[in-house]
């Protein structure tokens, strides 16, 4: 009888511990899932700002010299630096959107280009002479070309 009481006491303690651990585990899993989705959402927002906002900013700060082109690595956005003959060429290289500043007539130098963000797609479509539709992984931006650039 005494042994049965001890067994019952041990079982109840084990039961409570197991129940508490289950609750704790469920809570940790729940929290982890929420944290994961929050982090994914924040990451998506950051990537969107890194690529799409970057393209809008480039377009606004270089209104006159932007044009669409095609190079060794596919479509590229050409941003001329005034009349110097130099400029930035923005294209995709090895999974990154890169900015390659060099003489515009020279071959591309992707290894020395600056990486902007991770991106595998750059598609440039001329909707009309003064409007480019640029599609990257994170979505689409429209760039109004105010100067002499635009579709080639």
């Amino acid at each position: 009888m005494k042994q049965s009481g001890k067994a019952w006491s041990g079982l109840s303690a084990t039961g409570i511990t197991a129940f508490f651990l289950c609750c704790f585990l469920a809570l940790v899993l729940f929290g982890t899932n929420i944290y994961r989705s929050t982090a994914a959402s924040r990451q998506a927002g950051n990537e969107m700002r890194a690529s799409l906002s970057y393209l809008h900013t480039v377009s606004r700060s270089n209104e006159a010299g932007i044009s669409a082109g095609t190079g060794e690595y596919g479509d590229m956005l050409v941003v001329a630096d005034g009349n110097t003959g130099y400029g930035n060429r923005i294209y995709v290289y090895e999974g990154y959107l890169v900015e390659d500043y060099s003489r515009l007539s020279a071959p591309l130098l992707p290894d020395s280009a600056s990486q902007i963000c991770e991106n595998s797609l750059l598609q440039i479509e001329a909707v009309r002479q003064d409007l480019l539709k640029v599609t990257v992984d994170e979505g689409t931006v429209y760039l109004h070309i105010r100067g002499k650039g635009g579709a080639e």
Binding site: R49, G139, L143
Partner: protein, 140 residues
């Protein structure tokens, strides 16, 4: 003796349940608020980009009718001074998209139009961009 042990066990279980429920409730509301804020932030990022796209389209279009033509893939409609169009969450034109762009186009002066771009998601305004364009050429 046996009765005392049993009631002690039940008391422990009830106490632990109460504490667990309290903790779960607090953490759930904290996690849910964090998730909601994060969704709002990503929706705001998309809305800002979409509004910037709208401004670029307006600058190219120069008139409400032309803007409607440019946004034809987004089920664009011109009603008075207002153009409405729909986009999906990847910012592509989609007549069934959840994001609505509402562009109010007011030509205040001869060569200038005031543009107000509202981005709505499920009927709620997420972002408003107040801008303007020169309708005759790009610069006065």
């Amino acid at each position: 003796m046996k009765e005392t042990k049993r009631s002690g066990f039940y008391l422990e279980v009830i106490l632990m349940l109460a504490v667990s429920i309290f903790v779960i409730q607090i953490l759930s509301s904290a996690f849910a608020a964090s998730y909601r804020r994060s969704r709002q932030a990503s929706r705001l990022s998309a809305a800002v980009t979409l509004a910037a796209n709208g401004a670029e389209l307006c600058a190219s279009a120069k008139s409400g009718e032309e803007l409607c033509r440019l946004l034809s893939g987004a089920d664009a409609r011109l009603e008075g001074d207002v153009v409405t169009a729909f986009f999906d969450e990847d910012l592509n034109m989609d007549p069934a998209g959840a994001m609505q762009m509402r562009i109010e186009w007011k030509e205040d002066e001869k060569e200038f139009a005031d543009i107000v771009i509202d981005i709505l998601c499920n009927g709620e305004t997420v972002y408003t961009l107040d801008t303007g364009i020169f309708t005759e050429g790009d610069r006065p």
